[in-house]
Symmetry: C2
Subunit: 317 residues, 2 copies
């Protein structure tokens, strides 16, 4: 039976956040972190439930991270509902202890005044590495990159994305100092990147991946789904359906990745989607496979209207 906890504590200041964590740990508690960008749905709730299995205390961060968006992407329209999020979190059995909701994790109270900044940023612009953080000229300049795993799939179409994710997660790890952090496997590449980063930088944090949560019709839950029209949503089901069919085909002997990939691509195109990528990759290295010989995952990103959706399915033959 879930114990009734006090109201969720909302912390916006990073020093206060760290102080809370340290004092709780000094009392012998373990802390689980669930990083989110808010507009919470059942997928997020499942991450919180998983965290509850591992630690005594739960911190949920709600922060729309500007460094993982390029200036041409949807930072401005990313959905948010902080009040609704807090209500949802309050209703979770077992509870959430702290919502960490910082205003700007890249503002250090100094503006950059030096003459060379614009020219060096122009150079970065040539390389395509300008996120909404550089655009705001706040002086942040340290980035964490997982150089091999970030190259393919979402990294190709969103060049600043994983740099921004790895960096903000490093910051959150250093501020919250959790024992465990939980990520959704819907963002499969992100999950693998965070695990690799934790290994390579010697963070003392256990990273746990949670299975994808789907609506009754099969659509993978995403905060961005709210932007789909009913018609687009119906068409978007081609993603999850084609992934399930491909898995079924693989389990029944179709191990050619080209064939499996074609079937997925074709179904999405026929439904009117625009494919960003559809790849069958090794679950660990994320490298494209020709045949299914080891555990793989089929990863898809596709546009329906103005919404870019991602989904994936693991195949362990």
């Amino acid at each position: 039976m879930a114990m009734k906890r006090e109201e969720i504590k909302i912390i916006t200041d990073k020093e206060e956040m760290r102080k809370w964590s340290r004092s709780m740990r000094a009392q012998g508690n373990t802390i689980g972190l669930v990083p989110t960008m808010g507009y919470l749905h059942q997928g997020h709730i499942s991450l919180i439930k998983e965290a509850q299995n591992h630690t005594q205390l739960i911190v949920v961060s709600i922060y729309v991270n500007p460094s993982q968006f390029s200036p041409s992407e949807d930072l401005a329209t990313y959905p948010s509902d902080f009040h609704g999020d807090i209500q949802k979190l309050n209703s979770i059995s077992g509870g959430v202890d702290v919502v960490f909701h910082p205003q700007n994790l890249y503002d250090y109270g100094e503006s950059i005044t030096t003459s060379n900044c614009s020219s060096s940023e122009e150079k970065e612009e040539e390389k395509g590495l300008v996120s909404c953080v550089e655009e705001r000229k706040l002086g942040h300049e340290t980035w964490v990159r997982v150089e091999r795993l970030e190259k393919g799939m979402c990294g190709k179409s969103r060049p600043v994305f994983f740099r921004g994710v790895a960096t903000v997660v490093t910051k959150l790890f250093n501020i919250v100092e959790p024992d465990v952090a939980v990520f959704g496997k819907k963002d499969y590449q992100q999950w693998r990147i965070i695990r690799r980063m934790v290994r390579d930088l010697d963070f003392s944090i256990e990273v746990i991946g949670c299975e994808i949560m789907r609506d009754a019709d099969g659509l993978a839950m995403s905060s961005r789904n709210v932007h789909l029209s009913p018609n687009e949503r119906e068409k978007a089901l081609s993603i999850s359906r084609s992934l399930s069919r491909a898995k079924f085909a693989a389990q029944n002997g179709q191990i050619s990745c080209r064939e499996l990939r074609n079937s997925v691509t074709q179904a999405i195109l026929e439904a009117g989607g625009k494919i960003d990528y559809a790849e069958i990759v090794d679950q660990d290295s994320l490298e494209p496979m020709d045949e299914i010989k080891s555990p793989v995952v089929i990863c898809v990103a596709a546009w329906f209207g103005k919404v870019r959706l991602i989904d994936n399915i693991e195949i362990n033959l």
Copy 2:
């Protein structure tokens, strides 16, 4: 009066290192970290003395970090004397509590087997970003970069250097979890980069810079000085002497950085040195200045024989 401490504890395992730190902190102690590559001299000792002013316990790491060397650099001939280092540390009044001496911080017990690795590494080779870690193919792929501060000076002639330094310091911070870390201002750019990294990644660690230690003749102390012949050493004094003269000239009204720079360059060339760079930069942004209007630092790197030496002098008019 310095208290007699027990013999230094030598820890090679990173889990054991973290466990020691956590148990000491749980008892209310603060921990200072002095990262070194060993072959200790008075410069290192001064860092340790400084750390003693700030924390109760002192960890000195001794680790020649392969990721800050390119395969063509002097990793193989970098001087080492672990036994002598321990003797020196044992003789420090006030003492050192732990020497952290890991064998290989980049070996995670897995070799990389995937076919794409060599091709992606070839691409990195084109960009010049192969350190002695990539060369060993251990699978490490996460790097911390301080993108603006790393560009100039040592970053130009040693493209993997600061990426390697920032990454290994992140790893050491995550393993040792110190309250304070002490760096020498002889490596001026490195010191600034670490401070910026700590700010940008929200490490809860105070970074302290220590003044350059010099031998009686003025040569900045460096482990690499041991490779200088007596004749080369005499010539290398042109660096510190020309820096002192330039500071004196600036204090007496010469604020043209071109003039000051030329005087330094000329003195080193006349002594038979080969200039890598000589720059007068803002102390904070490390951007080259035309005139001395704000606090600057003159930074020099020059070769004498097979030895590359660096030195610098701050000017606060």
